[in-house]
Symmetry: C2
Subunit: 199 residues, 2 copies
């Protein structure tokens, strides 16, 4: 294919997925073309359907079919701690452990003066209001053990100090420099249950 | 997302792409959901459009928008050698070198008694008829330097002996055990121009 064709366009789009480069995108395109009915058309449909139906929860920031999401709508979770995470993928990782029965706040990133990401962009004023209104007993700062994550956790510790909630962070066990989404479930579970109070 | 949702379905489909596992499929899904208009919906459309419009050339077995493909329809290529490759990705790799101006036959695989892939499945009888009809002067066996590729090349050498065409294979330069699609273009180009006659 020397000229631009739908296939070239498809390969260019596939190459923009994390984990795929130009070469693996070409392989993926050929893989798909050999499985048009079993994989390629179902994937096209799943992309369109998911793009149309999945919403961001205006309460916690996660993705679900409903807003508020099923976690925010689940009354049995109202009494638990509030867990603050950077990304939806981190929430999924914690949910897979099955060891947490509270609710979440998904920041959607970390504070970054360089990239112009301030407290408003992460919904922190809304988070403070939510904590005050709910009378949250414990807030777990489940941020990545990276410089950005820990800087953001430090900011949150200050910002949430007046809410009266007890602030905890994940126990050591999260490798320094590591990202939650890459941990095995056992390590994450242990880190969760050994969480400790923020001084 | 604890129950089955469109998002779970999307992740399961993405995980079936070569190069993506369950974890990278989740990352890809989140990446897509953050870029619904810029990436997710265009990808859905490109998949559907490519699945609908890309055809397999009934002459050579490659993929293109027309059948016969642009290479088989290009009269300036009629005089060149015929290059036999295993997969469409190998044809693309050779086309990227810009050093070959003949036509192709894409086998679609290699002979395998174990998997029940015989000469008919690879279109070899049709290939022999094509060579005889075209009076092909040279056939380049550009198969992978793997056991399967070389077994198939050996079979083709016997099967094509009576056609009168000169049989060549790619020069050493293709690493033993290597696959064409992973070679850099310079190596592949050198291997191509130093191709030698099959004894
Ligand atoms: Zn929610
Ligand atoms: Zn063709």
């Amino acid at each position: 294919m020397t000229d631009a064709t739908p296939l070239d366009g498809l390969i260019a789009l596939l190459a923009r997925l994390p984990g795929l480069g130009p070469r693996s995108a070409r392989r993926a395109a050929l893989h798909l073309l050999k499985r048009r009915d079993a994989l390629m058309l179902p994937l096209a449909e799943a992309l369109a359907e998911t793009a149309r139906s999945v919403k961001t929860c205006t309460t916690c920031g996660t993705l679900d079919l409903t807003d508020p999401c099923r976690i925010c709508s689940d009354d049995t979770r109202a009494e638990g701690p509030l867990c603050i995470v950077e990304q939806v993928g981190d929430l999924w990782a914690i949910e897979r452990t099955g060891s947490f029965k509270g609710r979440y706040h998904v920041l959607g990133g970390t504070l970054s003066a360089l990239e112009g990401v301030g407290p408003d962009a992460l919904g922190i004023p809304k988070l403070i209001a939510r904590v005050q209104q709910a009378g949250t007993g414990e807030i777990i700062l489940a941020l990545n053990a990276t410089l950005e994550g820990q800087t953001t956790a430090y900011y949150l510790t200050e910002a949430l100090a007046d809410t009266g909630a007890k602030l905890t962070r994940l126990a050591h066990g999260v490798p320094v420099g590591g990202e939650l989404d890459y941990l095995d479930e056992g390590t994450l579970m242990a880190a969760f249950s050994a969480r400790r109070s923020v001084e």
